[in-house]
Symmetry: C2
Subunit: 135 residues, 2 copies
Amino acid sequence: MLSKKTKYGLKALTFIARRTDNKPVQIATIAKSENISQKFLESILLTLRKSGFLGSKKGKGGGYYLLKDPKEIKMSSVMRVLEGPIAMIPCVSLNFYEKCDDCPDENTCAVHNLMIEVRDCTLNIFNNKSLSDLI
Amino acid sequence: MLSKKTKYGLKALTFIARRTDNKPVQIATIAKSENISQKFLESILLTLRKSGFLGSKKGKGGGYYLLKDPKEIKMSSVMRVLEGPIAMIPCVSLNFYEKCDDCPDENTCAVHNLMIEVRDCTLNIFNNKSLSDLI
DNA sequence: TATTTATCCTATAGATTTAATAGATTAATG
DNA sequence: CATTAATCTATTAAATCTATAGGATAAATA
């Protein structure tokens, strides 16, 4: 399941990306327009800023703005920051690999091999989609 | 993330499917071989029985067995029973559809359209894989 | 029919994650 | 220096997941 954090984060990024002038957008504006709890959105935007997707400006006329061209913002990187691993199970994750406690041999594990296929097709979509494709 | 319930369930089904004679397999046997908590596995197998994948036999020599040919057991149906919706968000789910509270129009929702693509590719895999492919 | 074996059922506890809230702080601008 | 708005920390509330406990029920065997 996609977390609300990710859902809201994607909506907010899309909202900001639609501003062609790239002037700072205030949290409250996004929250109202997209029906998101403002405080919750606050923490999400903070995450996106810390991850290098957004810049922020304090004070009057402040807000959040994109640091890169929407074409350069790949869905796979956004998803990893907001949602975490793209793989459904850590033992097939490229960026967040972890061995399963219970599994003696990954190569013969039915679940492992199935989940590799799922990861590949999902990753293929997220790698070939950018923020500009969402607008 | 794939829940342990699903992971264990898939492993158990695979274990049972490998028995060519289709004689009942005891919970304890599977639990030991696959390193799964026996009580937890018990409830998972119960779910699979109630969903029509497995049959069971009580008493001595009892256990669980497949009700259908592994070729006839599609991954999509197993996943739906164990993990729930295949879609990452209810508004794109075919079998568990739900409207988003915050979203006024699905057709113009960036998240919605992205998640449709992900659902389609995942579903394509699960629909074309059967239990026999996992063995 | 007594004994053994194994599934079936209900309840619940602990851990983790998710979502949201509250309040104080810091910084920029006019 | 007052106003505006972002930032940070801490905490709560709710939901879900994982696992365990204990007994009830049913079937096979001797």
